[in-house]
């Protein structure tokens, strides 16, 4: 099972990101479950969403305490919320930031963590380049697919296209693909899929 936890702030698309991830997995014939934490989701408040992906039926409904993958949409959360809590040793970390791991003050984590599993990426800029808007969620999904090798970029794009009207979907797909390529070339891929 692949357990992904997504951290963001209200309005950045963390909830949609989890949904899209689940739809992408579904299109690959896998079982997937996506849900957010629910609270007063005012714009700007920290939001957490979850996605489980598996080849068999997913029965549990508890929040993901020990994720295999983390997507962090907003770097300002890094030192405010315990985003890394419970992360499994071989887990993937994808952070939306123009800075490097070291510049974010995460060198220790970067060093202790398995090589090739942690990446920062300027997703907001990539999103802006391709869509004219600063919503990094779709881009990060492409990046996550590239980083983990657990999902195909085609599935991600199909999920995006299903969800958004054509012009919006196009830009987001382009951004996702760009992020996918960036992540694929930057890190070594692991073969195993969930």
């Amino acid at each position: 099972m692949l357990r992904v936890r997504i951290h963001g702030r209200g309005g950045q698309g963390a909830v949609t990101a989890a949904e899209l991830l689940s739809v992408a997995a579904f299109r690959e014939g896998r079982h997937a479950q996506a849900f957010p934490t629910f609270g007063s989701e005012r714009t700007g408040a920290p939001v957490v969403s979850f996605c489980r992906i598996d080849t068999t039926e997913i029965r549990t409904h508890e929040p993901i305490a020990e994720p295999d993958g983390l997507i962090i949409l907003d770097p300002t959360l890094l030192h405010q919320v315990d985003v890394f809590g419970g992360l499994r040793p071989h887990g993937y970390i994808l952070i939306n930031s123009t800075r490097s791991i070291a510049e974010l003050g995460l060198s220790e984590l970067g060093d202790s963590h398995e090589t090739g599993r942690m990446l920062t990426m300027p997703a907001t800029d990539i999103a802006h380049e391709h869509t004219g808007r600063k919503l990094p969620n779709a881009v990060l999904l492409g990046g996550f697919a590239g980083l983990t090798g657990q999902l195909s970029i085609d599935s991600i794009e199909a999920a995006i296209s299903e969800r958004f009207p054509a012009p919006v979907a196009e830009g987001n797909c382009a951004g996702a693909r760009a992020a996918f390529e960036l992540a694929s070339t930057a890190e070594v891929q692991e073969a195993a899929r969930a």
Partner: protein, 417 residues
């Protein structure tokens, strides 16, 4: 058709395919996406010949449902928590009049303190109002149960509430095979009312009934629910034949046949427990879980048969009978009367507190090691509670409980994760 879809929307689509003629809508978290989904389907014409009433309260919603159902229209509404309580009077009225209304209850805690998250206190508070109560374990089951509910309701002339965990199921995107319109039409015939307000054949509905006849009328309601004990499995079996999957029924056991310890639960937590059961079985622990699907009528015989051979029964429930303890466990105990075994009530998940596999593991291990008392509150912070009790004991104006406890907890920005 197989879809990756939000639970609420799966329910909305399925309900629409049941061809309701009147839908009464009043919004309350976490049911909103269901009524919104149906509104869209009415507007696009996908659900036609349906009047979508945006009423002014839940009390009005159930009342309009009563008028509509009595006029022979297939009628639906949805609510949760406070809304369910607000229509309490009308719930009893609907069941007393024998009107086959179907309603989704997106299970949510009841305030005070106000809480929008999931537990079963809402539907449990109305367990005796005469409605049939079915509990869905998954979004697939939630969608399927609505079709079965209309069948059942119209056959026995009793209203049916389909309970699904608020947020946990309603707001989760999952894989659901949403029944097609043709499939639903084949399974659910047109509504043929037992009683009808019709100028061509006037009747009086809702007359006063005095001591000389009230008992008989009430007994009939009970008798009808007893009939439902047979009908529910029948309908579920037919469903299985038609759709090739198990949905509904009275209860479902998982690895209980030889189990020494059996956990009993309702709703989505059953899935989490099944995972834990598998984990423990790997280590050779004899444990299983019994999921109850029908809470009203309560399947006394079936529960007795399922649990009778166990040494230990742990009832895990998301509600609490303040002042005495468990609600579900009281019903389970009734089923087991005369049988000697260790019984434990565990109150968990109140107000949306997540029930984790980790906590369950510890809990079941405690049970098996006989470390569990008769009543346990899972993951209770005893220290915090003790502190508040001390404050009260000191006297004076100690302030509202929730304020003090929240202050102890500290203001948490991102939820409990």
């Amino acid at each position: 058709m197989l879809e990756q879809i939000e639970g609420s929307l799966a329910v909305a689509k399925t309900v629409a395919r049941c061809r309701p003629e009147v839908v009464c809508a009043y919004p309350i978290s976490p049911q909103t996406h269901i009524v919104e989904g149906i509104s869209d389907l009415v507007r696009t014409g996908e659900l036609d010949h349906c009047e979508y009433l945006m009423v002014e309260s839940e009390f009005a919603a159930m009342s309009a449902c009563i008028g509509s159902s009595a006029t022979g229209a297939r009628t639906y509404t949805a609510t949760a928590s406070q809304g369910l309580l607000y229509m309490a009077e009308a719930l009893y009225n609907a069941s007393g009049l024998g009107l086959p209304i179907v309603m989704t209850v997106a299970n949510r805690a009841i305030g005070a303190p106000i809480n929008i998250w999931n537990d079963h206190s809402d539907s449990m508070s109305q367990r005796d109002c005469g409605w049939v109560q079915l509990y869905a374990e998954t979004n697939q089951e939630a969608a399927d149960l609505h079709v079965q509910a209309f069948r059942l309701a119209e056959q026995i002339s009793l209203p049916v509430m389909v309970c699904m965990d608020g947020f946990i199921l309603t707001h989760a995107h999952e894989r659901v095979d949403v029944p097609d319109a043709e499939q639903v039409d084949a399974f659910l015939p047109a509504f043929e009312p037992r009683q009808l307000l019709d100028p061509a054949d006037p009747v009086t509905i809702g007359a006063m009934v005095g001591p000389e006849a009230f008992t008989e009328v009430k007994y009939l309601a009970h008798a009808k629910q007893m009939q439902a004990l047979d009908l529910i499995p029948q309908i579920a079996a037919e469903w299985s034949d038609a759709f090739g999957r198990e949905s509904g029924g009275l209860l479902r056991g998982y690895r209980i046949d030889d189990a020494e310890t059996i956990v009993v639960a309702l709703g989505s937590v059953i899935g989490t427990i099944e995972d834990t059961v598998d984990e423990m079985r790997e280590r050779g622990v004899s444990i299983g879980v019994l999921g109850l699907k029908s809470f009203r009528p309560f399947p006394l015989e079936e529960v007795r048969e399922a649990l009778g051979g166990a040494r230990r029964v742990v009832v895990l429930e998301k509600a609490l009978a303040v002042g005495v303890g468990g609600i579900v466990s009281a019903n389970v105990r009734m089923a087991l009367s005369g049988i000697q075994l260790h019984g434990h009530t565990v109150v968990a998940g109140l107000g949306g507190r997540p029930i984790t596999g980790k906590s369950l593991l510890g809990l079941f291990e405690d049970a098996i090691a006989d470390r569990l008392g008769p009543l346990t509150f899972l993951d209770l912070d005893s220290e915090r509670v003790e502190r508040e009790l001390e404050r009260m004991h000191e006297g004076g104006a100690s302030g509202p409980h929730e304020q003090n406890i929240l202050r102890d907890v500290g203001v948490v920005a991102g939820g409990s994760h």
